[in-house]
Subunit: 137 residues, 3 copies
């Protein structure tokens, strides 16, 4: 069994961003030397997620509108008594789930035809990390 | 370490369906020869999910009503400018998460007493796939 | 390759509770002897989840309010025709996802600085279980 761990770092210009990371994750898979196994891609923060979706700009705007409807920015979250103002970002993380686990087959991510991996930042403009861990043969 | 990959294919009659796949996934686990490990069951499409829930018809109707309330069908999603009409299916996928990872113990899926695996189709009537990947000893 | 499985048992006093289990899961990782691998922490019930969030009380109250807004308790879920009254708990489980997969690095859970693991009980006051399965080297 082989294993390999790498950390991707982000520091977005905008507070909320979707960043395609499929190529970066495929590079990690290549570096791992794993031909068959599983690849975990997981946010190390509570206000960002990793999702799999389509790379289509209209859809991305629909997703942001939807996230804002279901987990809206508000001033009066109780969490804000700590001095933070990112209560909505915690809820958006819960809604979208922090992580994905991807199959590695014949040395590559085994994704469907339209599946792209995105880092979903809900409270950016600061350094944050995603852990990528590959295990297999 | 052993690994084994199989693809389940679906082509639903209805646009939206819940299809129980616990037996199919257990067959894949058996074929894998893995006695102890992890089994990833993941949609290869952006408009379908794999979930674990109870096989109870009333609950399934509650789930569909709930999904429609939180991620409703609408004509005016921006994604529809591409010619698609499945914006709601993308949001339903995000809401329910595309995948589950199941423990394999003593050669079988290690599920709770009421846990069944379902393929949740949000935009069917065409050929779609789920990847099942088992790794372990 | 090594593997190790343990079951955590809960029997909450309240119907709804968030219980921090990071230390318990780290103990399982230690018992496994795995230095590098993956750790699945998954609810074996359909009315509880395992999530990763911040250990901050105000945030927890925000999360409960949010869960109740998106997946409210109601008397008239169709699932209740079976005699149950926990339809909302099934929906809260779907919303938060039943499980997390965590990286194990150098013999410990490889979590971000504020990440804690919680058992989220949506229909407690009875014995329920979480499976923790570690595989790796």
């Amino acid at each position: 069994m082989k294993y390999y761990t790498e950390y991707l770092t982000f520091n977005t210009k905008e507070r909320r961003e979707l960043i395609k990371i499929t190529d970066e994750v495929n590079k990690v898979v290549k570096s791992s030397g794993v031909r068959e196994g599983l690849c975990l891609v997981s946010s190390m923060h509570l206000t960002a997620s990793v999702i799999v979706q389509d790379d289509e700009e209209g859809l991305h705007r629909d997703i942001w509108e939807w996230l804002e409807r279901l987990a809206p920015y508000r001033e009066n979250y109780l969490h804000h008594r700590t001095g933070e103002d990112n209560g909505d970002a915690h809820l958006k993380n819960l809604l979208t789930h922090l992580q994905v686990v991807l199959p590695v087959t014949e040395g590559r991510l085994d994704l469907g035809p339209w599946q792209e991996i995105f880092y979903a930042e809900f409270d950016g403009k600061r350094k944050k990390r995603v852990v990528v861990k590959v295990i297999g043969l």
